[in-house]
Subunit: 321 residues, 2 copies
């Protein structure tokens, strides 16, 4: 256990996570509307689009147009997602995004084969190619990421040793290219983690790599995301990916199951209530969560947008007393 | 912090919580169907009905018929809820329920006035009346309960001192009547708690009353219930109220907001994954959660019924490997 962090960095991934999974077509204009609204909440890191094969992810066929259309706010980093060099080249070509150089591995080979059609060995080789491309474009590479670090629907449990092997591979790739990895993101891509797994995996990585800043990417498919974030905080993890409204997930099987990322405003609510700063205006964020619901046209799983924050109630009850 | 409990007792409150809030009429037959299905899951404590004023809670106008109709399973305790002596007398008259003698206070007077039309002083006096009634009927009184122990939508934050005052009042009432309170239930009735509040309140109560077994009643209105239960486990709390499917709540404002109790199967999922026993068959419970959804006719907020348990996936992946 560590002291809880005083400040938590939240990387908003709602637009990218959300629009890749929605069945109904969502107009480019409304995607831009969501990004522009998020820019006004105090969030300083917003993942705006996914530069993936439009045949596989039709919801992001308009990634270039979305990025061209939003109004950047000074001080906010706008990022994109890619899975290969073609996607990275598109993201760079926008001229508008903060390109986050990463070495990204996946702890389950079965998932890697399904998601990216690569073996473990293919993926290490692919990372070498990405590193070359980052370097050619003068992009700093200071981040490692491990997908499926807590379990896999196709491979089952993922051992702590497997995760440590992946971290070592990232570090070896970094050494090979004279890079220093400063941040490592651990993703519970398929929502296998409980708080004890967060202790186990984060603890093991931190013991071996005490200087690495750790980040968590938590999915809420089994309702554990907020509890897992709390366990992360207890382990001193100060960076979280999150999705406004719980975008990317939905409580109905008809929409593909509650597969979404941890809900940004529910996480911010917990953090603020525990005295941890985020730089985010919760009330504005709750308005954006309701906007996100309006844009996708169906209820999103976040709770506080319906239950209401406590600051408002505290003011009301104080006035009434 | 304490060692996590090896076994957790779950008191299922889904039928009572759920049917009191649903807008559409639900037939007596289907209420009985849910209770009978819950009896087959390994749950050993099921709250079946609410004996309250049918004018205020029309969903429970058929409480007597529901209790008359279910098939009791040996080893399962079936309970009811009441708020006054009239309700208690109806519950006793069924001849079929385990009558749990309790001294029940509320930490917010404003909520007490709205919910039960009583002042603090009225409520202490009312408890004396209930104790007399329990004693006349030979019912053991070993449980205390404090509603709104973590905050109140009408009064704001509730201080630790206020909760300790309430516990002392319960203990004084017990002394006055030669009773020994063995279990104390703390209810986050309006979902104000974060995990740190659980540490704060549970810690303060445990320090003053180390021999009391503690129970938590957690609402998920702001998405904190599972994280709060995890904090409770860390503090050694081994008894939780819960509602199958998250009955009593709904993710849509149209259904009154996500006001439900913590979802039983999501809690059981976390407990089993952490190696804590409950005596409950999770797969059977997931089937009952889907049945509950069918009975109320709209999606319920529980996650694992959609996301699926991991035991099934572990078997599939083992077979595939």
């Amino acid at each position: 256990m560590a002291d809880l962090p005083k400040f938590v960095q939240i990387n908003e991934e709602g637009p990218r996570e959300g629009f890749q999974i929605e069945k109904g077509p969502i107009s480019t204009r409304r995607k831009i509307e969501l990004i522009d609204a998020l820019s006004e909440t105090g969030l300083n890191h917003i993942q705006t689009a996914s530069f993936v094969n439009p045949k596989r992810v039709p919801g992001w066929a308009d990634a270039d147009e979305v990025v061209a259309g939003f109004t950047p706010r000074p001080g906010v980093k706008y990022t994109g997602l890619w899975l290969n060099d073609k996607g990275l080249e598109r993201a760079i070509a926008t001229g508008k995004l903060f390109i986050r150089g990463s070495i990204s591995l996946t702890a389950s080979e079965k998932f890697l084969l399904r998601n990216q059609r690569r073996t473990f060995a293919d993926n290490v080789e692919a990372q070498r190619g990405m590193i070359r491309l980052f370097k050619q474009n003068g992009i700093a590479i200071e981040r490692g990421a491990i997908m499926a670090a807590f379990g896999c629907n196709f491979e089952g449990d993922i051992s702590t040793d497997r995760v440590l092997t992946m971290v070592k591979q990232i570090m070896d790739l970094a050494d090979e290219h004279d890079l220093t990895i400063k941040t490592l993101s651990l993703a519970d891509t398929m929502a296998w983690a409980t708080p004890q797994d967060i202790y186990r995996v984060v603890g093991a990585v931190r013991e071996k790599y005490p200087d690495l800043a750790l980040a968590l990417h938590l999915h809420d498919t089994r309702g554990m995301a907020i509890a897992n974030a709390f366990a992360g905080l207890q382990m001193g993890v100060g960076i979280y990916d999150a999705a406004v409204g719980g975008l990317g997930g939905c409580p109905f099987a008809a929409h593909g199951g509650a597969a979404g990322n941890i809900c940004t405003e529910d996480l911010v609510f917990m953090l603020h209530e525990m005295g941890i700063e985020t730089g985010i205006d919760l009330e504005k964020l709750l308005d954006v969560a309701r906007l996100a619901e309006n844009i996708v046209g169906h209820p999103l799983p976040g709770h506080v947008k319906t239950g209401g924050s406590l600051q408002t109630l505290r003011q009301t009850t104080k006035t009434a007393a």
